[in-house]
């Protein structure tokens, strides 16, 4: 059974501690969305989970094995990271870039086999890149480069997929397609997915579980409807929001509203409902409940 578990992770860059005693677990078929303000430690957490950053304390277990006791290639055969962006030094073709995802399976010296070619073909189709295969990565648009990064990660045939901000800077169409693809990978292919997201509505739409990070710790985790609440969000982000329901899926829908103290025009003249949560900003000081108790089956599978 695929599972990726972080136990009491403490990570630091130099003297600056970024993650404090953080624990989490993600299993096959789950999508865990990491949300939280800038600097909360989301990307650092992904790097620690991907064996790129050695934690000061704590362990990361991949199928109950410490990833730092496994060889890098053994980890890369089961776990793939799709970074937010990467610089490419030379003009390589899309196909060559994606093919590198086979390296953990094929090794660094042997030529790619027919099986590798088949897998490369499959992920090119899956990510809609088959038309672009001979194009140079350096000539692609930002969204196309994202797809190349994801395709290479999928070519690794991972059981655990780590995605860093896969929807940022993408247009509406690719946002939707990426989220749908991520859901398919988890639901149909049984991958365990950890994804950092800035857009809370993206988290609400695709995640089976959401972990809200602040200052390097998980302050709330559970199904989206348990974490994406005005209370939780206001405490961590320091702004009031309105949470309604998605008109189609019934999942939480987070709407931004302007603080009336700073903006008297009332956002387009629409009257705000009276029971919204501006008061939280000033009065809230009860600790957030760890929503892990509610962490049963998520019930928004459309």
């Amino acid at each position: 059974m695929t599972r990726l578990e972080a136990q009491h992770l403490t990570c630091a860059y130099g003297r600056h501690t970024v993650l404090h005693d953080l624990s989490l677990l993600v299993q096959a078929g789950e999508i865990l969305a990491l949300i939280g303000p800038n600097g909360a430690g989301k990307t650092t957490l992904l790097r620690a989970l991907a064996r790129l950053l050695r934690p000061r304390m704590g362990t990361v277990l991949l199928a109950d094995q410490d990833i730092w006791r496994l060889r890098p290639r053994a980890v890369a055969r089961r776990l793939a990271l799709a970074p937010q962006s990467e610089g490419v030094s030379w003009p390589v073709t899309v196909e060559q870039a994606v093919a590198l995802g086979r390296a953990p399976h094929r090794g660094w010296l042997l030529p790619y086999s027919g099986q590798d070619r088949q897998m490369i073909e499959q992920v090119l189709v899956q990510t809609g890149l088959q038309e672009l295969r001979q194009r140079l990565v350096t000539e692609l648009s930002g969204g196309e480069q994202r797809r190349v990064i994801l395709a290479r990660a999928l070519a690794q045939e991972p059981q655990v997929l780590l995605l860093d901000e896969p929807t940022t800077h993408l247009d509406l169409r690719y946002q939707t397609e990426f989220l749908a693809l991520i859901r398919r990978l988890a639901q149909r292919d049984g991958m365990a997915v950890v994804v950092t997201l800035h857009d809370l509505n993206h988290a609400a739409l695709c995640a089976t579980r959401v972990a809200l990070l602040a200052h390097g710790a998980v302050v709330a985790s559970g199904p989206p409807e348990a974490v994406l609440t005005p209370d939780c969000l206001a405490q961590v982000y320091g702004v009031a929001v309105v949470v309604t329901r998605h008109p189609v899926y019934g999942t939480p829908l987070v709407a931004l509203v302007f603080d009336p103290r700073h903006d008297s025009s009332q956002a387009g003249g629409t009257a705000l409902p009276q029971d919204t949560t501006f008061s939280i900003l000033h009065t809230h000081n009860t600790p957030l409940s760890d929503a892990r108790e509610h962490d049963a089956e998520s019930n928004h599978n459309s």
Binding site: P83, P91, L109
Partner: protein, 342 residues
């Protein structure tokens, strides 16, 4: 990003460019054997090459071809290939289009070794150059190492500082040893005058090892193009890969410098020319780069031998004189898909 309509870059798997380059190299080698103080017609060259002992082949032809020219021609090709591949690997490792075989200290280490050998009259110059090059790279590598990790930038900086330092010592040694300064300068300029089979057989084993190891490491070099973290997340043991690439490139460079002195520019421009022709995938780039480097130095040495005959120019001066403008031309005309972009 240039809005060029995306034509597939020349030769991405379409034309068999590598066999073409190989054919060109064979042709250039035969022509190179023909030209010199005495120009031999090609049929006589071929006959002397293929059947040196056959009746009807003049003994002088066989001597010129086999004893004088062929060894030097092959040596030029080998040195050119070695410098080009070493440059390709180091550009790939550092993700830097300006890297060449000498960035991490090999040239200045070799220069100091050779200078000391020439000035003291002690021991073979090429052996001293070989040892000097390897020592300098080892020094740069261990200076850059911090807690078992060798950051690429630190290695580049250590190499640059070491190059400056060692060159200063070479200059000092030359200043205090005027009588051998000309011999030292001649070595520093790099060239193949009077070199032949013995240098070839001395360099060949090291070059063969270095070149094959670098070709084998084509895929790690491909992965490194996407950054250290991506390469690592694909399972590449970064430190070990980096160490092996540096060691193989240095061995190749040291053998090349020991045989031909510090010949500049081949290791810088051959990789770029090859990248424009066959693309950036190292499995194809490395052989293409080797062939182009071999061709470049072969042609440069032909010009060096014949342009002002019987006077010989240092081939290193020619590669720089021809290579510099060519590089600038490439830079100006192919800016769009030339070298590194982030």
């Amino acid at each position: 990003m240039t809005p060029r309509t995306s034509q597939p870059v020349i030769g991405h798997g379409r034309v068999a460019l590598i066999p073409l380059l190989l054919g060109l190299l064979v042709l250039a080698s035969i022509v190179s054997v023909a030209v010199g103080a005495v120009v031999l017609p090609l049929p006589r060259v071929l006959r002397a090459l293929l059947q040196p002992r056959a009746v009807g082949v003049q003994a002088t032809d066989a001597t010129i071809v086999w004893d004088i020219r062929l060894g030097r021609v092959l040596l030029a090709a080998l040195i050119g290939a070695g410098l080009a591949v070493s440059g390709t690997a180091l550009q790939g490792l550092f993700r830097n289009p300006l890297a060449d075989p000498f960035v991490i200290g090999a040239s200045s280490g070799a220069a100091l070794g050779a200078t000391l050998a020439i000035v003291s009259g002690f021991g073979p110059v090429s052996l001293a150059a070989f040892v000097g090059a390897l020592l300098a790279v080892t020094a740069a590598y261990s200076i850059a190492e911090i807690g078992g990790v060798v950051p690429a930038t630190a290695l580049l900086l250590a190499g640059a500082a070491l190059n400056t330092f060692l060159s200063a010592i070479v200059s000092l040694v030359m200043l205090f040893n005027e009588q051998s300064a000309y011999a030292v300068l001649n070595w520093l300029l790099g060239g193949l005058s009077g070199r032949s089979w013995s240098q070839l057989s001395a360099s060949l084993p090291y070059m063969a090892i270095g070149l094959s190891v670098l070709w084998l490491l084509a895929r790690p070099l491909d992965a490194l193009a996407f950054g250290d973290e991506t390469a690592q997340s694909l399972g590449l043991p970064l430190g070990r890969a980096r160490g092996v690439i540096v060691a193989a490139a240095s061995l190749t460079t040291a053998a090349a410098v020991a045989a031909g002195g510090t010949i500049g520019f081949v290791g810088l421009i051959a990789p770029h020319a090859a990248r424009l022709l066959v693309g950036a995938e190292h499995a194809r780039l490395i052989p293409a780069s080797a062939l182009i480097g071999a061709l470049l130095l072969l042609v440069a040495d032909d010009v060096a031998r014949t342009a002002l005959a019987p006077l010989e120019l240092p081939a290193g001066v020619l590669t720089a004189a021809l290579g510099g403008p060519f590089f600038l031309y490439l830079l100006k005309t192919r800016q769009g898909d030339f070298g590194a972009r982030r």
